[in-house]
Symmetry: C2
Subunit: 185 residues, 2 copies
Amino acid sequence: MSTIATSFQGGETGPWVVTSLETLVDEPLARVSRFSISDANQAIPAFGAQWARRGVASYSRYTHRMERDGLQAVQEGLGRPAATCAVLSPIRKSREWWQLAQDERRAILEEESAHIQSGMAVLPAVARLLYQSHDLGEPFDFLTWFEFAPADTDAFDALLRAMHRTEEWRYVDREAELRLSRSPA
Amino acid sequence: MSTIATSFQGGETGPWVVTSLETLVDEPLARVSRFSISDANQAIPAFGAQWARRGVASYSRYTHRMERDGLQAVQEGLGRPAATCAVLSPIRKSREWWQLAQDERRAILEEESAHIQSGMAVLPAVARLLYQSHDLGEPFDFLTWFEFAPADTDAFDALLRAMHRTEEWRYVDREAELRLSRSPA
């Protein structure tokens, strides 16, 4: 948890090779070949950056204590040597979502859509970190970062398909999907 | 609800006269005579601004639907002609608070500390708007703005005393209180 914003930059440089960039809903992000992540407070953007999106790995808004304990018992960190695949999933939710009360948003997210449980089901294979962008006035509300080994791509794809079928996703009004790879560490 | 940050500026100009500026916990804010509020994206800060704090009037994090409906049924807006008193209450919460899970924070805030109910008890006299600053990397996590008529100062003071006695306030590790007045509109 931090209040220092992270910058996700697409361009011509960076350790990650862009293998696909899809716009699922709404305006596309400009196509880029490489991708990097840095502290958003750095004065100088990456050389050749075409776009940058910011987010904060902030406090969780919906996860209950028992769920958090369950996640922490099985999850593994980012940066595992074998996790050479990554996906950045930027989404924006509709005005209707943000006008719901806290208990309504929680009920849709977890009791109806099993968002937290679905993420837990692919642990520890698919590591994940959520960055909050809503209060920063960014074009997306959330940037979720996933890391996994190539052999776990099917598990990740199944997770994403399950999310797309949920009640929660009816409130997603902008979404992109950036797939990345790097050489084994 | 907005994602455009608001800037609260203390200095030598602005429609609000500073009647007191107290640091309740931690480092003081520089003393100023006047106070103004503006869109944080404006390029030019107020003339003579000594400090500026930013926040976003974002989605609510704890209020349930029934509570929201109750508040909306009785509250009045900001800018009422008779509401010539205002208070800016900047607070920061401890690392311990932010590491709690959502259900734990909600239980402390409302079930133990009656934060929402206490605010409702002084409606419509004391109008209030909460600005979120945590994700912006600001020195405070929240800026709460209150407006009321001079005759309702006692009701506001009682609200503040009640808040200071709560379990929730054990997690406040930085707090200031800026009292303001303006000529009747």
